[in-house]
């Protein structure tokens, strides 16, 4: 519930009109205590799939062990 609330208003997903309103990109905002493994477990059920998230965010992540609070990650 808290995560869903956080995700509301993120990016283009909550805009009601225009091409961006159709943007289906899935997002996660990094909070304290998050790791890519934890995020992977949350969305995929399997922490070992964290590299999928890392690969999808290579433009902002240089190291899968280094993520920052407030970072907005794409979840493929």
């Amino acid at each position: 519930m808290a995560d869903e609330e956080k995700l509301k208003g993120l990016g283009p997903n909550d805009k009601g009109t225009g091409a961006d309103a159709w943007d289906a990109t899935q997002w996660h905002v990094v909070v304290k205590g998050d790791t890519l493994s934890k995020i992977s477990k949350k969305y995929y059920g399997d922490p070992n799939l964290y590299m999928k998230i890392f690969e999808a965010n290579r433009d902002i992540l240089k190291n899968p062990d280094l993520i920052k609070i407030g970072q907005k990650l794409r979840i493929p």
């Binding site: 995700l7 009601g16 309103a21 493929p76």
Partner: protein, 203 residues
Amino acid sequence: MMKSKRILVTLLCVVVGLALVACAGNKNAASTAIKAAEDAFNAVKGEAMKYVPDKVKAIEDSIKAAKDTFDKGNYDAALSAAKAIPDKVKELSAAAAAKKAELVKGWEEMSGGMPKMLDAVKSRLDILSQSKKLPAGLDKAKLDGAKSGYETAAKMWEDAKAAFAGGNMADAMAKATTVKEKTVEVMKTLGMQVPAAATATKG
């Protein structure tokens, strides 16, 4: 006495003759008006049947009524009825054009958005298929249902595109709307965020 009788008969003949000429004139005018109404209707019928088929029958009924009236010899009434039809045909044509524009606009939005939704779902399904466990709220049965739903939606999307390419916009939009609803359902099953445009009430 004989002379006045002859004048009266002559006058009578003239009156009857004039009446016959007038009657023939109305008959020709009514016939021409009916033909013009039919021609006008036939020119727009194809487009109207595609976009506003429910409005076509009213015009067909009007033309038939004018013809029936004509066949009964009531030429004035047939003329009057036929003269009113071209305006109705103009309204029909305008309604068809408006509906076509609405469908094209809806399709442009859908065709920009649906591939993004389908791609996002496919990506998630591909990853979940590799997962050794499933996330909270998702079990194997739900995942299988989501996969099946995605496949149905993806195939129907191809059908919708084919319908649009074939000029059948109403069918294309009907299919696209079903695809959207199905895809939204799958996204919710997978716990994904649904794009705002896909949850708007308008199809």
